[in-house]
Subunit: 155 residues, 2 copies
C-alpha cells in the first residue's frame, strides 16, 4: 500500500514539474484505504507561496469531505513536510504522515525547508524575519468577543 | 501607522466572527505604507484548515502583485502567527511581522497554536501526529529530475 500511494504522489510531482507548476513535490491523502486527494506543488503556477503539495492536498480533501478536520485520513508526501505543511497537518488533525525524502535532501536540492525549520525551532540565529509586538491591548478584546460568542465553532 | 494597520486587522477579525466565517484573527499586508491585502480567518466558512488570516492575506497579496515573493511587504496580525503561518511568511519572504496578542493569549482562548509550536520545537512530547519514513529511494529521483531541469524556477 505504501508503494502504491507514494507512486501516485511521485506521479503528481513529476506532472507538476513537467507543467512548470512547481517544485519536485507531491502528496496524496488516503481515507479508509482509498485516495481522496492528490496534489503537487503549485507555487509557480498560482503565484501562491503557500501552494505546497501537502497544503493543496489538504485543501482538496477537506473540500471533498466538507469538513476542516480530517482525523480519519493519512497523508503521503514525497518529502518531509516543511514547518508550514507540518503545522497544517496538525490543524487538519491528520494523525499520520508517511514521508519519503528528508529536509536535508530538500536542502541539498536548494530548498529552504531545513533553514525555516531551524529558524522556528531556534537552532539557527539566521532569522530572516523580525517579529515586533504592537497593540496587544487593542487586540485582546477580540478574544473577549470570541469568549462571549454563543454560536462559536472550534477548529 | 501601527495603530491604523492593526485597527484594520481588528476590523477584519470582528467581521469574520460576526459572519461566523472563522476565529478571532485578522491580518493586513502593507507595501510602501499602503494596505494591499486584508483578511480574516475563514476556516469555518471554507472548511479549509489552512485558511488562517495570515495565509489568506498572503494569498491575496501575492495574487495582486503577481509574484510568490513579497520581500517589500510587511504583515500585521492580531495574534502571533502559528507555526504554519510563520513558515508561510518565511516562504513569502516577508521580512517583518507586527503582531499583537501572543500564542499564550490564543491558548487561553482555547486555540492550539501554542501546543503545535511546542510540538514542532520539541518542547512537548504530546505529539498527536506520527511521522513514518517510507520509499525514500523512489522519491530521491524527483530531486534528480529537478536538478536536470533547465527552465526551473526557484521559490
Amino acid at each position: 500500500m505504501h508503494h502504491k500511494f507514494m507512486a501516485r504522489a511521485i506521479k503528481e510531482a513529476i506532472n507538476g514539474m513537467n507543467k512548470n507548476e512547481g517544485g519536485p513535490f507531491g502528496a496524496v491523502i488516503v481515507r479508509n484505504g482509498k485516495m481522496i486527494a492528490q496534489a503537487h506543488n503549485m507555487v509557480i503556477k498560482t503565484n501562491d507561496p503557500t501552494a505546497h503539495a501537502e497544503i493543496m492536498a489538504i485543501r482538496r480533501a477537506s473540500k471533498k469531505l466538507g469538513h476542516f478536520h480530517l482525523p480519519d485520513c493519512e497523508i503521503y508526501t514525497t518529502c518531509e513536510p516543511c514547518p508550514m505543511c507540518l503545522a497544517a497537518i496538525h490543524w487538519a488533525r491528520i494523525p499520520r504522515i508517511y514521508y519519503a525524502c528528508t529536509r536535508n535532501d530538500a536542502e541539498a536540492a536548494g530548498f529552504d525547508d531545513n533553514l525555516f525549520h531551524k529558524t522556528i525551532t531556534g537552532e539557527t540565529s539566521k532569522n530572516r524575519v523580525s517579529l515586533v509586538q504592537v497593540e496587544r491591548t487593542s487586540c485582546l478584546k477580540l478574544f473577549e468577543i470570541w469568549e462571549q460568542k454563543k454560536d462559536k465553532i472550534f477548529y
